[in-house]
Structure formats: structure tokens, C-alpha cells
């Protein structure tokens, strides 16, 4: 089975069957990654561009590794040291790259809607690696894969997303994907970091992290950006940690088996207590491993869709 669309712009509109297909395929690729030679010829002859207009270490490396494991040819384009600095428009840059005959583009941009914009400029498959405050679908897929591995199903699972909801594309994709897969979602954070009308996503909203911990099976803890303090959205990192920081004490008080996820990079001592990332609660490194498998699955399924079309 292939995916309906030849692009992955977000999880909005992606069906339960499609997400299941991606996660099942990712599980297969994860096995391949354990082999002595973790490489398959699936995308041999395909060219993939990693177009990163925003700094990224782990997402870019994860995509690049997934591409290489599938034997694709890869090109990296990052905003620094490129024609972006020379004032070339996004449209021109992309059309130029596409003229070099590209099959897939992985794009990250600070502006929401850019992946969609690219689909209107070029013929290649476009995968969103994070657009502004909108979506980051592969992150949500790898989060769901990690949860499914641990709990067997996402149906009825209680997931609390904690932190800066309004600026988070990770939250944007997780809310959509988890709801589609039948999970219950609660968003928790200060009201100043809560987007307007968020409840229309069908999620619960709360401002007490203890309440969220008391309710949830799993916590997806978001990174807090220091610039939000500069913008006056919370008073200090100290207060943020006091009110929303996830600590061992808080988790143990719940007296249940709880899973802590984080999309990285972690601000240790702020949203997560210092050693919590390394504790028995954490599945953060599983997330990283699953990230490669999920991205392989997406690349494979989208390239298949493209073949079916041509």
C-alpha cells in the first residue's frame, strides 16, 4: 500500500490506516537497522535534497541517515553559506534545485506553509521537517512509534503534551496524529504559551503539571525557548522550572509507570530535572532510534507513491 499523497506536509488529513502503515513499515526498517549491514537498495538512483532553512542537528542527521540507509543520493542545503544570504527568493532557490532533477525534498523553514508552497513550485515529493509553528509530522510519527512499542496500541492512551504549546510544531503534529489514532490528549502549560482556541483540536487544556502527571500515561515534554522569556511570555526559567519542570518527585508522586518523551534538544534543569532524561522513565533515546526508522518508512512509502503515479 502507498500513501494517498506524494507529499507529507503534516498529519492533518492523514488517515488512521496511513499512519498505521507508516508505523508498521518503520518497525520493519528498525529491524534492518539492527543488521550488521544496515542498508537496503530501496531508493537507489533517487536524489533527495535536505533543504534546511533553520538550524537543526538531530532532524537533519536523522533524515540524512535514513536516506543513506535506503541508498539514496543526498544533497544538503542549509541557509548559512548558501544563496539565501544573497537575497535569492525561496521560490527561485527551490526551482533552481529542482532543475537539477531532484526526486524528494526534505524542508525545514521558520515560516508555516512553506512545504505546501514548495509543492506548488516543483514536482518533487516534499516532506515537511518542521514549518514554523505549524507541523513536524515525522517527529510526531516517531513519538507515536515509541509509544506504540511500549504500550502496544495508541487507542485510549493518555498523552499529556507539556510546555510551550503555541510555538510548537511538535505539539501541532502530535495532537493531530494522536487524536487520529484514538489517543486522548491533554495540553499543559502556562496560558501565555497556549494558542488561542486550542480546545477546537479536541484536546484537554490544563495549567497544572501535577494534574497532567496524575492523568497521563505518557508525557511529551517540549523544549522551552529562552526567547519566549525575552518576549515576556513567562517570567523566568526558575519560575518555569518550579511550575512546569518535570521532576522525579512529581513523577513518583503519581505512583504509576509513566513514560517521559522529549523531542530534544533538552534544556536540562529547566523543562526536565537534570538526570531525568537518563532515568527509567525516559524513552528519549528510543525516540532518536525510531526517528531514523520512521523517516525511512516515510521516504520509502512516498517514493513508492511517486512510482505508482509515473
Amino acid at each position: 500500500m502507498a500513501l494517498k499523497s506524494k507529499h507529507l506536509l503534516g498529519l492533518e488529513g492523514v488517515t488512521r490506516e496511513e499512519i498505521t502503515e507508516i508505523l508498521d513499515t518503520a518497525a520493519t526498517f528498525k529491524e534492518i537497522l539492527q543488521r550488521p549491514i544496515p542498508k537496503v537498495p530501496t531508493l537507489r538512483g533517487k536524489t533527495v535534497v535536505n533543504l534546511f532553512y533553520e538550524d537543526s542537528t538531530r532532524t537533519r542527521i536523522s533524515f540524512e541517515l535514513a536516506e543513506k540507509r535506503l541508498s539514496a543520493d543526498t544533497v544538503n542545503f542549509s541557509a548559512s553559506g548558501s544563496s539565501v544570504k544573497k537575497g535569492e527568493s525561496l521560490r527561485d532557490t527551490v526551482r533552481n534545485i529542482a532543475a537539477m532533477k531532484i526526486d524528494m525534498v526534505i524542508v525545514r523553514h521558520r515560516s508555516a506553509g512553506v512545504p505546501l508552497f514548495l509543492t506548488k513550485c516543483i514536482d518533487a515529493s516534499v516532506i515537511n521537517a518542521g514549518d514554523g509553528m505549524h507541523e513536524h509530522p515525522t517527529q510526531a510519527l516517531l513519538d507515536m512509534m515509541t509509544l506504540r512499542e511500549k504500550y502496544g496500541t495508541l487507542d485510549g492512551l493518555k498523552v499529556a503534551i507539556i510546555g510551550d504549546i503555541s510555538h510548537s510544531r511538535v505539539a501541532g503534529s502530535n495532537m493531530r496524529g494522536l487524536k487520529t489514532m484514538g489517543a486522548e490528549v491533554l495540553v499543559c502549560g502556562p496560558q501565555t504559551l497556549m494558542p488561542r482556541d486550542i480546545e477546537t483540536f479536541g484536546v484537554g487544556v490544563c495549567h497544572s503539571v501535577d494534574e497532567a502527571i496524575g492523568w497521563a500515561d505518557a508525557l511529551n515534554v517540549l523544549r522551552i525557548q529562552l526567547e519566549r522569556q525575552d518576549a515576556g511570555l513567562f517570567p523566568s526559567l526558575r519560575e518555569y522550572h518550579n511550575e512546569y519542570g518535570i521532576t522525579r518527585r512529581r513523577l513518583e508522586k503519581a505512583g504509576r509507570d509513566l513514560t517521559v518523551m522529549h523531542p530534544g534538544p533538552i534544556n536540562r534543569g529547566v523543562e526536565l530535572e537534570n538526570d531525568l532524561a537518563d532515568s527509567e522513565f525516559s524513552v528519549i533515546l528510543d525516540q532518536v532510534t525510531n526517528g531514523v526508522a520512521v523517516r525511512m518508512a516515510v521516504l520509502y512509502l512516498l517514493s513508492g507513491a511517486e512510482e505508482a503515479v509515473s
Binding site: A112, G113, L116, G132, R196, D197, F201
Partner: protein, 429 residues
């Protein structure tokens, strides 16, 4: 086709629309030496001059659009006074008021004179709106007396609204000495901050920073207080929110001098249409919700909203064909305003044809204290001839602007224009 009226012209078989009663009176109309020479029955055969059959069309005083951007001087690649006037004619207008956000800005009398001079030869009259503050920086008020003498008809900092209430107070006080109108684009800048669309369910879904409706409401409330306190005349540009309509309705009930306009865009379009991140739907104020649209229609119906204005805002393709957050605000509006008003306001029965046209003919001129053209024997010939029921389709071929940033291509609209007449010239569409 634009011609100077050298020989007498007979416009035969049309009807006058009475803007008071909405009644249509079949007439023949003769124009001689740029004036209306005769209204009544006139045999075509015995007429010595040019004859045009305009049967099926209505004659109304020339329309005015009190909020346009002509981009000259500064961005002649996007629009010129000439191309803007061409779009205005094609939209049925015989007059426009142009906003001061040019380069250099219209904040001194030389720029006012330049615009007057450059528009001298146009059929369309161009009335410059000068800046409230020097460089539109919101700090020091402009030389208003000098600007008025040069031909400015009102003051506005439009897209860079005066944030400092004391500066706005002084501007209203100073302008009120001359009875001059101050037009405000109501937006609290820190509240709007880096927003790109209306804040709410859709901005959250699209991941775009939002502009809350209270950003408009708060500034309207401030301006109303200042108008009441100073006795100045304030006009609220492009009203877009339910809350704003409410504020103005109450202010009018309290007898405070405040008027306002609405654009066709905020009536025809809403934020629900933004799911494709189309930059031709990006404007300031942003497209709002269907509930705000209902409130705007109600405000038109009960007279809270005085004027239709297009906020015609040409932008180059390079500037608009970019990611949503990088695109500038504004879309074209001159050629489609009449059609949108007819389809969204008149056809659904919100306003009669006469009442809708009044908001594009009489009220704007009354607010600006400009003379209202009369269709009477002996008066200058300043009128628009249209068929309000017949439809046409907007496409690139009929676009007369130098830019093409509008979402209306492919739209079929009512209101076919036969032509406009003004300043001794007749333009036939």
C-alpha cells in the same frame, strides 16, 4: 476608449437612479462642453452630435473610492497614478483618495502638489490624503495647514498607525481647527506584533502568529475617546471586526463624531479560506471570521458603517509570491469593489441598490467635505453608467492595474460598466 467631449453627446435610452427613493427614471441625457445640457426625451434622429445607446443601463453620480494606494511616487513598478486611474475608471470611479505611504511619503506639500500635477490629465480626480506625522513615524505632526492648502483632503498614517495617544490627540486637535478629517488604520502594534492572520482557531490550525480582534477594537475605543475629548473628526479605515462595529455603533448612539468604512474583501472573504496559505488573501487588517462578516453586514444595514472603500493595494509578484509570513499585506480592489458590493450586499437584500451606491457616491464625499456631483441640467458631467444586474468575469485580460495581486480572478460578478464621464471626458468600457 477615452475621448474628449468635443461634440455634444447624447446618451439615449438609459435611466437615472434616484438615490433617495431607489426609483429608476428613464431619460435621455445630453452632455455639451463637459456639462449636463439636457435631461429628458431626445429624438436620436434629430440630434446633432454623437449618439450612444445606453438602454438597460443606469446613470448615477460618479463613484468615489476614498482609500486606495497608487504607489507613485516610489513604487511605479507596482502602480502609477495613470494605471491606478485606469483601474479606477474600469471600476466605475470618477474619483479616488490616495494614501500617503509612498516614497517619499506624502508628508509635505511638494508631494501633494506632485500627485495633483501627475493626475491633472486624468479623467479620475485624485485627492491626496497626507500623513498625520512626519515620515509616518508617529512622532511629530505634519504641516497640516500647508498640506491642506496644497490640496490634501484628509490625514492618515494608514499602515503605520499612530500608537502614541498624545500624538493622536494633538493631531485631532490641530486638524479640527481646519475641520479636517483624520483617518485611522486601527491597530495596536504590540498586540498585533508579528501576526499574519486573524488570531483564533484557524491561526492555531495553520501555525501562523495571530492578530487578535481586540487589537482593532482597542484602537477604535481609543480613537472614539480622543474624538469625543477633542471634538476632532475621526474616520475608521477598513473596519473588520464585530467588536469594532459594536464600539462604533455605541459611539454614534452617544453622538460622538466618528465614521467608518468597510472593504469588499472583508465582506467577501474570511479566514476559513486561508488553508492554502494564499498570500493574495493576506491583508491588514486580516480576514476575520464568518461571525465578523455577519456583524459587518448588520453594521451596513443599520447605518453604523458609512462607506465602502477598496483599500486597493498593488504589490509586485516578487513580493507576493513568497512564503505567507514574508508577504506584504494588501490586495487589489478598485475593479472588483462595485461587483462585490452588488453580489454580497445588494443581491442578498442587506441594502438597496441606491443605499449601497450612496456609500460609494455621497457619504464618502460628505465625510471628506467634497462636493457631491449632481445629475442636473447645468451641472458638470460627472457620472457612472452601469448595468447592476448583468454579470462579467474578472480575468487578467480586463485587469488594468500594473499588479495582479488579487484572489478574484475567475470570479463572476454583477455590475457591468458601460462607462464613466468626468472632467469633460467620456470613457467607454
Amino acid at each position: 476608449m477615452e475621448t474628449y467631449i468635443t461634440t455634444p453627446v447624447l446618451l439615449s435610452g438609459g435611466a437615472l437612479l434616484d438615490l433617495q427613493t431607489n426609483e429608476r427614471h428613464p431619460v435621455d441625457l445630453v452632455v455639451r462642453n463637459g456639462r449636463i445640457d439636457r435631461i429628458g426625451r431626445q429624438e436620436r434622429a434629430s440630434f446633432n452630435g454623437e449618439v450612444h445607446d445606453i438602454s438597460g443601463h443606469l446613470i448615477v453620480p460618479g463613484l468615489i473610492d476614498m482609500h486606495v494606494h497608487l504607489r507613485e511616487p516610489g513604487r511605479e513598478d507596482e502602480e502609477t497614478i495613470e494605471s491606478g486611474c485606469a483601474a479606477a475608471m474600469a471600476g466605475g470611479f470618477t474619483a479616488v483618495c490616495c494614501m500617503p505611504n509612498t516614497n517619499p511619503p506624502c508628508d509635505r506639500q511638494e508631494v501633494v502638489r506632485f500627485i495633483k500635477k501627475r493626475s491633472e490629465d486624468q479623467l479620475v480626480e485624485v485627492f491626496p490624503i497626507a500623513a498625520i506625522t512626519k515620515q509616518r513615524e508617529g512622532k511629530e505632526i505634519t504641516e497640516m495647514a500647508d498640506l491642506l492648502r496644497a490640496g490634501a483632503v484628509a490625514f492618515s498614517d494608514d499602515g503605520s498607525p499612530v500608537q502614541n495617544a498624545a500624538v493622536m490627540r494633538h493631531a485631532l486637535e490641530y486638524a479640527s481647527m481646519y475641520g479636517a478629517l483624520v483617518i485611522d488604520h486601527c491597530e495596536d502594534e504590540p498586540l498585533s506584533a508579528s501576526g499574519h492572520m486573524n488570531e483564533g482557531r484557524m491561526s492555531t490550525r495553520l501555525g501562523l502568529a495571530g492578530i487578535p480582534d481586540i487589537s482593532e477594537e482597542i484602537m477604535i475605543a481609543r480613537d472614539i475617546s480622543l474624538a469625543e475629548y477633542t471634538g476632532g473628526r475621526i474616520h475608521i479605515a477598513h473596519l473588520s471586526t464585530r467588536k469594532g462595529v459594536e464600539r462604533i455603533r455605541r459611539a454614534k448612539e452617544a453622538g460622538i463624531q466618528v465614521t467608518c468604512e468597510v472593504t469588499p474583501h472583508h465582506l467577501a472573504l474570511n479566514e476559513e479560506m486561508l488553508s492554502q496559505y494564499d498570500t493574495n488573501l493576506k491583508m491588514g487588517p486580516p480576514l476575520r471570521t464568518p461571525s465578523d462578516q455577519e456583524a459587518l453586514l448588520a453594521g451596513l444595514k443599520d447605518g453604523t458603517i458609512d462607506v465602502f472603500a477598496s483599500d486597493h493595494a498593488p504589490h509586485s509578484a516578487e513580493e507576493k509570491e513568497v512564503e505567507f509570513s514574508a508577504a506584504p499585506n494588501g490586495i487589489l480592489g478598485l475593479q472588483t469593489m462595485l461587483g462585490i458590493v452588488l453580489s454580497k450586499v445588494v443581491q442578498p437584500g442587506v441594502l438597496s441598490l441606491a443605499d449601497a451606491l450612496t456609500k460609494m457616491i455621497i457619504t464618502p464625499r460628505t465625510i471628506l467635505r467634497l462636493e457631491v456631483p449632481q445629475i442636473r441640467e447645468g451641472e458638470p458631467a460627472n457620472f457612472t453608467i452601469l448595468n447592476p444586474e448583468k454579470t462579467w468575469t474578472m480575468n487578467l485580460g480586463v485587469n488594468r492595474s500594473r499588479s495582479r495581486n488579487m484572489p478574484y480572478f475567475g470570479w463572476t460578478l454583477p455590475g457591468v460598466l458601460w462607462g464613466v464621464c468626468n472632467k469633460g471626458r467620456l470613457w467607454i468600457a
